[in-house]
């Protein structure tokens, strides 16, 4: 009797704890996999949700509903009012932000709900949409994949080749709050029948859109961020009058930080190991390897310098030079930490680049 009493008591207590109190049928749950947010004319948000349904009776597994509301959470309430089951956002895969919204508003307070509710997974990819979000959200992938899954695969695949920045919500949070870095997110747009990733959208510290990078610039941006150490990334180099050379590159770098004559100075030494993928003109790759290397080196250096200049011209620092400034020139950093991108725009960036041709492929 004495032994059974605690067991029985525990059992009784366990009963109300099980899911019996509040069921959540998967068939009735609308799982939001993608959210797109943009701004309407009347200072409201246009929120489009892409949900997946598991009901067997349905042919269409994916539904898209749009609503206008002052906040993302309020939009959720609107959606809830339309849906027969509960709407859950904890499986979010992609978060699309319209360009208009990015240009006019600080988005971080808008997506506050993602961080505040501990239930939410924070690994959704943050994506800037070049034109209207409606067009993207009404897109139907040809292979009938769920749109949000399609988009996230698209992003992941492009990131494998480093032709975009891939930023998850929590990284976005990091980039937003870190003074020494400005956010960079994936950018895509809809062409006639396809959605294509166009590169990287650079935002400032208030999460406002500044400028875009194309896919090639994004590769170099990733290289500067030391993200191309383990991946091998294709890069094309035009050769004047002849055609082009494609290489596969990996890059490493050393950054020296100093403060000279009232300016920050960064000496970046990039080491790139490349292997030849393609050449579209006749040449003996074996004999002319030095020539190719030089060509590649000159072009990469030119592109990288142009990229750095572009960043400085637009007062954005997605690379995170601010981290170096803080680590090595703290006393000077302290004075500019609230407006680091401006200080970065002023800084001297000296870039040198060293290419080593590691492989030429299977033919001469």
């Amino acid at each position: 009797m004495k032994k059974w009493l605690p067991a029985a008591l525990s059992f009784l207590l366990l009963l109300p704890l099980t899911a019996c109190g509040k069921q959540n049928y998967l068939e009735r749950t609308n799982i939001v996999l993608g959210i797109a947010i943009d701004r309407t004319d009347k200072d409201q948000l246009l929120v489009i949700d892409n949900q997946v349904l598991f009901s067997t009776a349905l042919k269409e597994k994916s539904i898209t509903s749009s609503t206008k509301a002052p906040s993302v959470r309020a939009a959720r309430e609107n959606l809830n009012a339309m849906s027969r089951g509960s709407v859950t956002g904890s499986k979010l895969q992609v978060l699309l932000l319209g360009k208009r919204l990015l240009q006019e508003k600080d988005v971080m307070p808008l997506i506050d709900v993602v961080f505040r509710d501990a239930k939410n997974a924070t690994n959704a990819r943050v994506i800037a949409v070049d034109d209207s979000i409606e067009e993207i959200m009404s897109f139907m992938p040809r292979d009938k994949t769920h749109l949000s899954v399609y988009l996230s695969d698209l992003v992941d695949n492009a990131y494998d080749k480093r032709s975009i920045a891939r930023t998850e919500i929590k990284q976005f949070h990091y980039q937003y709050f870190e003074e020494g870095i400005t956010p960079a997110i994936t950018q895509l747009k809809k062409s006639k029948n396809e959605i294509i990733v166009t590169g990287t959208a650079l935002l400032n510290n208030k999460a406002t859109y500044i400028v875009s990078l194309d896919r090639k610039e994004s590769v170099l941006l990733q290289a500067l961020q030391e993200n191309v150490e383990s991946a091998s990334v294709p890069y094309t180099i035009p050769v004047a009058g002849k055609g082009q050379v494609s290489i596969d590159l990996r890059s490493k770098q050393k950054v020296k930080t100093s403060f000279v004559r009232g300016k920050f100075r960064f000496d970046i030494q990039m080491k790139i190991s490349a292997s030849l993928l393609e050449r579209t003109f006749t040449m003996n790759a074996e004999k002319q390897v030095d020539e190719i290397t030089k060509m590649v080196q000159a072009q990469l250096l030119h592109d990288a310098r142009a990229l750095v200049k572009k960043l400085q011209d637009h007062h954005v620092d997605p690379v995170g030079f601010g981290l170096h400034a803080r680590a090595f020139e703290y006393s000077h950093w302290k004075k500019v930490q609230d407006h680091w991108p401006d200080a970065f725009a002023d800084a001297d960036v000296h870039l040198t680049l060293d290419v080593e041709m590691k492989g030429l492929g299977a033919v001469k």
């Binding site: 525990s10 207590l13 366990l14 501990a118 924070t122 929590k170 709050f177 870190e178 680590a327 090595f328």
Partner: protein
């Protein structure tokens, strides 16, 4: 005659008992509280905190070794007389009882916040109290074994945090002591709460099988805790930006959110569920110290009666009082403050008093 001979614990149990008491709720919020005070240099504060904790622990062992058969509850009346001594014991008991209660409340609060937001707090507390009760009603030997079990059962958890290294910014740690030493030193007081737990030695010492190993044991216990805290603090410093880390209430759990397996998205749920073993090992020692103390004061050998009383009263309070985040945070801060007194100031005062006491005694009876 050895009063507590039937309940001896080994050195290993002693180490894990103290170490597991130290590791508790504090670890989840530590990167934030320290980050607010000392930024990315907080790991230096932890080192300072460790040295202070070590000094206080050794002082406790020094005091206890004068009368190796006494717990604190026997020691205090011996020096202060029956009334004052028992009064002091009572204050210590109250401190431990409140500490145990707070540890339960905050554990359940975090559980509800992160895992089961729709379940009633009271039910969760009741469920939490059942295993706590069944462990605590046993003697110290069983508790020591439980400490060992918790250690072995959860030792895999800390290396998991290394997953967050994938996105580390080592540059964050530089320069060392960026804003001078003032913030670092001022953050030392915040490391008091994480290292609290070594005051258990006041009770454990007479139960220790090999008393010569007491110093070694308490140093090892503090050192393991130090290693865990340093690991977490440094990981948080290089993972978050210095301003970002103060944005999160529980940065350590956010670190875990990083871990994403193909079949499990919110790894922190798995981690937290196992972490309850660790949290229970913060509750149990304080609870035991409290009920063991009251039983000693009343001259009873069996502490189970008082444990039942405590459990009953605590559940009654928990039924009516459901603290919000802010009041809980305030209570925990207060606990940290009193902790400074009981774990750090109290041993020093006691040691000073004993020294003076003995000096007087020697003068009076040469």
């Amino acid at each position: 005659m050895k009063k507590y001979a039937y309940n001896e614990i080994t050195t290993k149990q002693f180490i894990f008992f103290i170490y597991k008491t130290q590791i508790g709720v504090g670890i989840l919020t530590m990167p934030r509280t320290l980050g607010e005070a000392a930024g990315t240099d907080a790991w230096i504060s932890i080192l300072f905190g460790y040295v202070i904790a070590l000094a206080a622990s050794c002082l406790i062992i020094l005091i206890m070794s004068k009368h190796p058969e006494d717990t604190l509850y026997d020691l205090l009346p011996r020096y202060f007389g029956k009334w004052i001594g028992n009064g002091l014991s009572l204050i210590f008991i109250l401190y431990c009882a409140i500490a145990a209660g707070l540890a339960i409340l905050s554990s359940v609060f975090i559980e509800r916040m992160w895992i089961v937001p729709d379940s009633s707090a009271f039910l969760l507390i009741v469920l939490f109290m059942i295993p706590v009760y069944t462990v605590t009603r046993n003697g110290l030997r069983v508790l020591g074994r439980y400490a060992e079990f918790v250690y072995l059962g959860t030792v895999w958890m800390y290396p998991l945090l290394l997953f967050s290294l994938k996105e580390s910014h080592w540059l964050n740690l530089l320069p060392i002591a960026k804003d001078g030493w003032v913030p670092i030193v001022s953050a030392v007081k915040l490391t008091v709460l994480p290292f609290l737990g070594f005051e258990m030695a006041f009770i454990l010492y007479p139960f220790l099988q090999n008393k010569k190993a007491a110093y070694k044991g308490i140093i090892i216990a503090n050192s393991i805790s130090l290693a865990v805290y340093l690991l977490i603090e440094i990981l948080a410093s290089i993972f978050f930006s210095p301003t970002e880390v103060t944005e999160y209430f529980w940065p350590t759990l956010i670190l875990l959110k990083r871990i994403e397996l193909p079949f499990i998205e919110r790894f922190e749920i798995v981690f937290l569920s196992f972490y309850f073993l660790v949290l229970s090992m913060t509750v149990i020692p304080y609870l035991f110290t409290a009920v063991f103390g009251t039983s000693q004061l009343m001259g009873k050998q069996d502490h189970r009666v008082h444990l039942r009383w405590y459990t009953g009263i605590f559940l009654l309070i928990a039924f009516f009082y459901n603290p919000s985040y802010t009041s809980l945070d305030r209570l925990l801060t207060a606990w940290g403050k009193y902790g400074i007194f009981f774990a750090y100031a109290f041993p020093v005062c006691l040691w000073g008093y004993i020294a003076v006491f003995q000096w007087f005694k020697r003068r009076r009876f040469p």
